[in-house]
């Protein structure tokens, strides 16, 4: 009778899968150490560029839980350059006009896959850009330095990418996590009242960066006390237990450094179910009014804060502005993205396109070295769809291309600037 043997077989397969799941949950990747490079640039053209075209590579999550924002990272830049290509191309500083091609590969937010994608692209693209994710971008940081391939204007808030000594061939685009956490912390510390803070953060550099920035800002503020601090794994499908525990702390402010969309929605809902109604802080990439706050019923809370540097495509007046209309048109026309994007990454990616065009305009040689020089020399550039007060500045070592953020408060529909906590 083979049922017993079969059952044992099945049991061993299931056990195997279980072990894999546990290992996957427990494996966090650390960063690598930087290599030295010699920037001896010969003027012969680098890979991925000819007299009439340039190819950019992207590795980003196009499937899996972060696919929503990931798809946006490709759509925005594709829309921007699609429109430029239709006009004949982009003018480079060396006098040539080139069309810009995008090669995007799916890494499923998996560091191994991201590295494999990079290996596949590195000799056919001129530069890698716009890809989303800290662990995924870190996975090929050292390789990009060794190969002298630009890994620039990427969507990660990890400060390592904006430190020139550690990352000579890298530059982040979006504000670093610390910038965001700090901006919120400063607003809170400026409050006239006492506050108890509960913290939930993703158990990796992303979560740690936010918490670090926040704590830096509230250091020495007598009116702020952190009463409970918990973490969760990026692979978790529920954080109900954490919220139950945090709700018991009686905090009136909830600093939630969370990057997984469905988890943020369910946190908002769970918190209401528990009858715990603090003021919230949410990161810029998981605070979309239409994709997250509305389904989560965020209007129930006294305040939901986030930070931003770009206009929200979901805002009522967005489509009426010239830049907004051009952006939505480009998404539809060139990026196969007919909806109004629910994630800010589409706008960011579009701004990356504009920033790259700015850089291309001051490149005098078709080489990666020359590109990096031009890249580190942009300041005071206002990309389309930027908020008042934010600009692109790549000249500050230790800071990403965009480092100035505005704290905003949810008003039931979209966000409005928050000048102070007690307003």
């Amino acid at each position: 009778m083979s049922t017993n043997r079969r059952r044992m077989r099945v049991a061993s397969v299931v056990a195997g899968i279980g072990i894999v799941a546990v290992l996957a949950a427990g494996c966090a990747r650390g960063g690598g150490s930087p290599n030295d490079t010699d920037d001896g640039g010969a003027a012969e053209a680098s890979p991925g560029i000819t007299d009439d075209s340039i190819t950019l590579g992207i590795t980003t999550p196009l499937s899996g839980p972060t696919a929503g924002p990931g798809t946006c990272t490709v759509a925005g830049i594709t829309a921007y350059f699609g429109a430029k290509n239709a006009e004949g191309g982009v003018e480079f500083g060396d006098g040539n006009t080139r069309t810009v091609e995008i090669e995007a590969l799916d890494d499923e937010y998996d560091p191994q896959k991201a590295k494999a994608n990079y290996d596949q692209l590195k000799s056919s693209v001129f530069a890698m850009t716009a890809g989303l994710g800290t662990p995924t971008n870190r996975a090929w940081l050292d390789a990009a330095i060794a190969d002298e391939v630009p890994q620039v204007l990427i969507m990660t808030g990890d400060p390592i990418f904006s430190n020139q000594e550690e990352s000579p061939w890298q530059l982040g685009f979006v504000p670093i996590y610390q910038n965001e956490g700090e901006a919120f912390g400063e607003l809170l510390a400026g409050s006239a009242e006492d506050h108890k803070v509960a913290i939930l953060s993703q158990n990796d550099d992303y979560g740690e960066g936010y918490v670090e920035g926040f704590k830096t800002a509230i250091e020495g503020a007598d009116n702020i006390e952190v009463v409970k601090e918990l973490t969760y794994e990026a692979t978790d499908t529920s954080v109900d237990a954490q919220l139950t525990e945090l709700a018991g702390s009686g905090a009136d402010v909830f600093f939630n450094a969370m990057s997984i969309t469905p988890l943020v929605i369910s946190s908002l809902q769970k918190s209401q179910e528990l009858g715990w109604l603090p003021s919230w802080f949410l990161p810029s990439n998981t605070s979309s009014p239409t994709a997250i706050l509305e389904p989560g019923g965020a209007a129930a809370f006294p305040g939901v804060y986030t930070v931003a540097f770009a206009q929200s495509a979901a805002a009522p007046t967005f489509a009426e502005s010239e830049d907004g209309a051009a952006f939505l048109e480009g998404l539809k026309e060139y990026a196969n993205y007919p909806d109004v994007p629910a994630f800010p990454h589409c706008v960011w990616s579009y701004q990356i396109g504009a920033t790259l065009e700015e850089v291309f305009g001051s490149m005098t040689e078709p080489t990666r070295e020359n590109f990096m020089e031009a890249l580190r020399d942009v300041s005071g550039f206002t990309a389309p769809l930027m908020l008042e007060g934010s600009t692109v500045d790549t000249t500050q070592d230790g800071q990403p291309a965009v480092s100035t953020v505005q704290v905003q408060k949810y008003n039931g529909k979209g966000y409005a600037p928050a000048e102070s906590w007690d307003e």
Partner: protein
């Protein structure tokens, strides 16, 4: 105390989702002797069908019922034209085939509906009831009740109907069942169809909470498999109890066992499996296969 009750209730609610999927796996296993790793993927596909129908303006409950019916036929068709070739063969081959099917269905969903998170309306309101210092959401409670109902129906089907008897006969000994006039092929198709229906129920219950994505059920499947092994593959009641146990213990361990915390809680069900199988190789409620010589 409120926190404790709260954690138990939440555990039961997440455990219910694992339970629905585990029930489907048990059903297929009882009918065909296979473990269907694609059960989660099929559940996601069913949820997408319900979502798409709802998007066409069909009321939610009707859309779900239609998806359930469609799922039944889809399950039967998959069994008849794909799985039939691998039944009673090498179980390792069948495992790989169903894993392949999972990948295929996930890719198919992504191809049609993209990987964007789709908001799935909930059958239950977002309201809550207060019981003994704990807050119970109507959704958790509803999920729980639906799964209990499914479990009782299934148990009744297996033990109290001719169809259930035929299904069990086919599972235990297809050759003898065929000699006694049981239509083996049709019963296999019905088994797969019913499993797909259960998956559809699990899919529409979990989608409002996780938002609908092609990979929505991936981790639920791992837990459901754990529940199957823990409860015993031959016992519908057993796997449901095991699934609840997993959901509850995971929550409690995270909060009350300091060194586990929220980061290692995924390991809890698997540690539990090792311990249980050490003591009872057939699972908590499983029957030992006895061979007379």
């Amino acid at each position: 105390m409120g926190t404790f009750i709260q954690l138990v209730i939440d555990g039961l609610s997440t455990g219910s989702i694992y339970a629905a999927l585990a029930l489907a796996i048990v059903l297929v296993n009882q009918a065909t002797g296979l473990i269907n790793f694609a059960q989660g993927g099929m559940a996601v596909l069913s949820a997408y069908v319900a979502w798409a129908l709802n998007g066409l303006g069909i009321p939610l409950l009707l859309a779900i019922l239609a998806a359930v019916v469609i799922s039944f036929f889809l399950g039967a068709v998959i069994e008849r034209y794909l799985i039939r070739r691998f039944e009673r063969g090498d179980p390792d081959t069948a495992v790989v085939v169903t894993i392949g099917l999972l990948t295929l269905i996930t890719g198919f969903c992504a191809w049609i509906w993209t990987y964007n998170n789709r908001l799935f309306p909930s059958l239950f309101p977002l309201e809550t009831i207060q019981i003994a210092g704990a807050v119970i959401s109507v959704r958790s409670l509803g999920t729980f009740i639906v799964i209990v109902a499914c479990m009782l129906l299934l148990q009744a089907l297996f033990l109290g109907t001719k169809l259930g008897l035929a299904l069990r006969a086919v599972a235990i000994n297809p050759a003898s069942a065929a000699f006694s006039g049981v239509n083996v092929g049709r019963n296999l198709m019905i088994g797969w169809g019913l499993a797909a229906v259960l998956g559809a129920v699990a899919g529409v219950l979990v989608a409002p909470q996780l938002t609908l994505t092609p990979g929505m059920m991936d981790s639920a499947l791992v837990y459901a498999l754990a529940a199957c092994i823990l409860g015993g593959l031959s016992s519908p009641i057993g796997v449901v109890v095991a699934a609840w146990l997993i959901g509850v213990l995971e929550n409690l361990a995270a909060v009350y066992v300091p060194f586990i915390g929220h980061d290692l809680k995924i390991a809890v069900p698997f540690i539990l499996i090792f311990v249980v199988l050490f003591l009872r190789p057939q699972g908590l409620f499983g029957r030992k296969a006895v061979v007379r010589v």
